[in-house]
Amino acid sequence: MMSRLKVMPDNPPRRPQAEALKPPPETTAAPAKIETRDLSFFYGENQVLFDVSMTIRERAVTALIGPSGCGKSTFLRTINRMNDIIEGTRLTGHVSLEGIDIYAKQVDVVALRNRVGMVFQKSNPFPKSIFENVAYGPKIAGERKKKVLAEIVQRSLKRAALWEEVKDRLNDSALALSGGQQQRLCIARALATDPDVLLMDEPASALDPASTAKIEDLIFELKENYTIVIVTHNMQQASRISDQTAFFYEGRLIEMEPTTALFTKPREQRTEDYITGRFG
């Protein structure tokens, strides 16, 4: 099952060995992790998602692209019910995680979000120490043992490729880190609760190329264990890191294909216009 997913759809120049290994992928064969059916979403009277039906595969990277304001963030936030905390919003249709309707009455939102982690567009570290930031999730979950917490913090920071840079100053304020480091800290913090799904909303939008490259490497490694949904404005980035790409336009899902297919021969005219930069 894993082998099917370890494939790159595109050829990132930094990873020549990845493309040599496998023929073009058949990602559609991977089991579905998240499914939405006829998902519509409203901010008050204002409808911003229209009947979105999408299948997101397990242990793969799914990229969401589309012009600004088309509803990518809103869609992403329906998957961990983050929109619940905004007053006056309404949702119709279904979202399921491993076949369970996450908007059903008996679903515990806290448990859901524990399994579906999220990294935000604007890095938002807590005004606490680096250690406390990463340990926050396990701590509120009930983990009290210092040793276990320290292990989790170290493991998460290593996976987020931040450990080497901060291991000597874990007790310093997280706000003293650089923008790129803060963003990786937020990723480490999300990993520390050990989710199965990771939602990333333009995680690299505010970063320099070096930090971006680090985060892309990281995503590439993470998909061995996680299902990743990532919003990006950067076509190259989408084609470098994702297995599947979904194109949104004005609140509708226009098309969703394996990434190579979408970027080489889009079915829809609007997709082609967008990826070739004719609008958006």
Binding site: V110, P138, E143
Partner: protein
């Protein structure tokens, strides 16, 4: 499943219980204040029942609780409201104009701003001491016997005692200093809410700064300023400590200038000139005095007085809220 996950599952129900308990405690705390307010109002009303009647409003204080009334305090407070408003509005608005329209970012403005927030935190009794020394006694420079300066107004003479002594005017000036920081801050906020396009448009037509302020900015900010002034004045009405300090009388059987009904203003116009320089009492002073008396009947008299005071405050606040409401509507249009 690794370890933290199982910890998560075993703790989840307890966390939800903790959360619900915490939410309930917070909600109860919020309603606590409102509950106290309800109990207070109900308690006062209950104590005042049967004591608050027409004769209570039209009688002077008395040694017999049944005959005690609040007429002197009512008129005293009315005069205080009048003069405090008269003094604090021009000065407060003037200061706000200077800070907002003229000197918006200098060191002086910052100094004054910091000073304002510190003044707002000075206990009201300290203002009372200031008023006592500066207005009532005028540092004792006039000696023990007050001098009287007379100004002719045509129909009567305006006799100004120096120092002011324990008069309406001294009290109003003290209360003015007390509420001035509040008035200035409120007026500043109202001025800041006026869009700068109004000013630019006026300058473009060749208006001077003062013309712009007078004909464009002030009218636009007026409702906001008025709301702030009313709220500040209604705070002054309830202030007791500074009045006690400057020596408002506690047992009084007259009204300032002997004006004790609206018709007196016509029949006794000379009283209008006397009133500011007359000694006085005020609503909260009478209440304080009644509360301090040992006879338990006076508790009921005090309760009746409190109801009158709260009614006056409620009316003032109602006007302020109505103004704010209209003002907000206008901005939306």
């Amino acid at each position: 499943m690794n370890k933290p996950k199982s910890v998560f599952e075993s703790r989840l129900a307890a966390r939800h219980r903790q959360g619900r308990l915490f939410g309930a405690v917070c909600m109860a705390s919020t309603w606590f204040g409102i509950g106290v307010l309800v109990v207070l109002l109900a308690g006062v009303t209950w104590q005042a029942a049967g004591w608050l009647n027409w004769s209570f409003l039209t009688n002077f204080d008395s040694r017999h609780p049944e005959q005690a009334g609040i007429l002197a305090g009512l008129w005293g407070s009315l005069w205080l409201i009048l003069f405090t408003t008269l003094f604090s509005v021009p000065v407060g608005v003037g200061a706000a104009l200077y800070l907002e329209e003229y000197e918006s970012n200098g060191w002086l403005q910052r100094l004054i701003q910091v000073n304002l927030s510190n003044l707002a935190g000075v206990p009201s009794i300290v203002y009372g001491i200031l008023g006592l020394t500066v207005f009532v006694r005028m540092f004792g420079v006039f000696g023990s016997q007050p001098k009287v300066v007379a100004l002719s107004l045509g129909f009567t003479d305006l006799e100004i005692p120096l120092p002011f002594g324990r008069t309406v005017i001294a009290a109003a000036l003290t209360l003015t200093l007390l509420i001035l920081p509040v008035v200035i801050v409120a007026a500043q906020e109202a001025l800041r809410a006026v869009p700068s396009s109004i000013r630019t448009a006026s300058y473009a037509l060749g208006a001077t700064k003062w013309q712009t302020i007078r004909h464009q900015v002030l009218p636009a900010a007026a409702p906001g300023i008025l709301t702030g002034v009313i709220l500040a004045v209604s705070r002054a009405i309830g202030e007791t400590a500074p009045l006690v300090m400057i020596g408002a009388l506690t047992y009084v059987a007259f009204t300032p200038g002997d004006i004790s009904s609206p018709t007196d203003i016509i029949t006794n116009p000379a009283g209008l000139a006397e009133a500011p320089f007359d000694t006085f009492t005020a609503l909260p002073i009478q209440i304080f005095n009644w509360v301090s008396r040992p006879k338990t009947e006076y508790q009921h008299v005090a309760a009746a007085g409190i109801l009158v005071l709260l009614t006056v405050l409620l009316v003032l606040n109602g006007v302020a809220i109505a103004l704010r409401h209209r003002y907000q509507k206008r901005i939306r249009w």
